[in-house]
């Protein structure tokens, strides 16, 4: 594909209605599972938070890749999204590190 051709941003395949339906189903199932485990004793185990984070990240990725078409889109769009996202996550981790070592005096 010529990246300099007009409409290069639209010269890509979009998922079909069938795929959209499956994506919606998976998103619903993951959400139901997340809420279900909230009400189970599993909530008290050390695996609860990591599992929720993985499930949430999975839903996030599914929406971005399929509904936002990033899987099929131009690499510049991928860079424009993932670059700031990486900076944002690094900022979050840095803030956590800072605040976990320096407690706010109360």
């Amino acid at each position: 594909m010529n990246d300099h051709a007009p409409h290069a941003d639209h010269a890509h395949e979009h998922p079909t209605w069938k795929q959209y339906k499956w994506v919606a189903l998976w998103l619903t199932l993951i959400t139901v599972f997340e809420v279900w485990i909230y009400y189970t004793p599993f909530k008290e185990t050390p695996y609860y938070i990591p599992l929720l984070l993985v499930l949430s990240a999975t839903k996030f990725a599914i929406v971005v890749l399929f509904y936002m078409h990033l899987k099929y889109d131009h690499k510049l769009f991928k860079a424009l999204f993932t670059g700031p996202l990486i900076i944002a996550v690094c900022t979050l981790l840095a803030l956590f590190a800072l605040f976990s070592h320096r407690a706010i005096p109360q």
Binding site: H7, E34, S56, V64, M68, I87
Partner: protein, 219 residues
């Protein structure tokens, strides 16, 4: 021929990459919004558990006068609103597909090709989500939690309020597209307008996916 080329250039705005600058702009905007929301989420998480007085999100609290406050978050109600927002993303992609494929076999005159229906459904689901949020905020205030009450109240209302403001902007944007569709009909040439709105809408959805887990489900 020359006039046709001039006409094309009159309505398109390509960068040197061959990409429409409006789509580049929306992705850059979404990138900046990622950082905005991550800063709000970071603030919420850092202040989590540091409130001196209640009400608290997941634990009951008794004030000095002996009044007992229940855990304030209502997971069943928020789960419903989350489902509504997830479904709004599905109907949004159907609206985009209907505009992109207008006139093509399988879309012409069928339910799948009815962009007005899908745009209206997306706006309605967005408005429903806002209704859930208004209900949640109102019940929190009635139960004694305002933006001034404690660190949880301040960071929670700021984070979810910013998200709600984004959803409101998205609903207005969708209603604008719907009015254009009703007035003159959106054609495949307008697909980019719907695509940009859809990207914004899905972004609002992914932000809620993060908020739902980090704020509501993690104790």
């Amino acid at each position: 021929m020359a006039s046709a080329v001039a006409e094309v250039h009159e309505h398109t705005h390509y960068t040197t990459t061959g990409l429409d600058n409006r789509k580049v702009a929306i992705w850059a905007f979404i990138g900046s919004e990622c950082m905005l929301f991550m800063s709000l989420i970071s603030t919420y998480l850092i202040y989590k558990g540091k409130s001196i007085v209640g009400p608290f999100p997941h634990e009951a609290w008794t004030d000095p006068s002996g009044h007992v406050f229940k855990p304030i978050l209502n997971i069943p109600v928020t789960s419903q609103s989350t489902f509504v927002l997830l479904m709004s993303s599905l109907v949004m992609v159907l609206a985009l597909a209907a505009v992109e494929n207008r006139g093509k076999p399988g879309y012409q005159g069928t339910l799948l090709g009815n962009s007005k229906l899908w745009l209206a459904a997306t706006a309605a689901l967005g408005a429903t989500f806002l209704g859930y949020q208004a209900y949640e905020f109102t019940s929190f205030v009635h139960e004694g939690l305002t933006i001034h009450t404690n660190l949880f109240g301040s960071s929670f209302f700021t984070l979810t309020g910013f998200h709600g403001a984004h959803v409101t902007a998205g609903v207005l944007w969708l209603l604008t597209l719907l009015s254009i569709d009703i007035k003159r009909g959106l054609t495949p040439k307008d697909a980019l307008l719907v695509d940009i709105c859809a990207l914004y809408w899905h972004f609002v959805d992914v932000v809620w996916i993060a908020i739902f887990t980090l704020v509501y489900l993690i104790k």
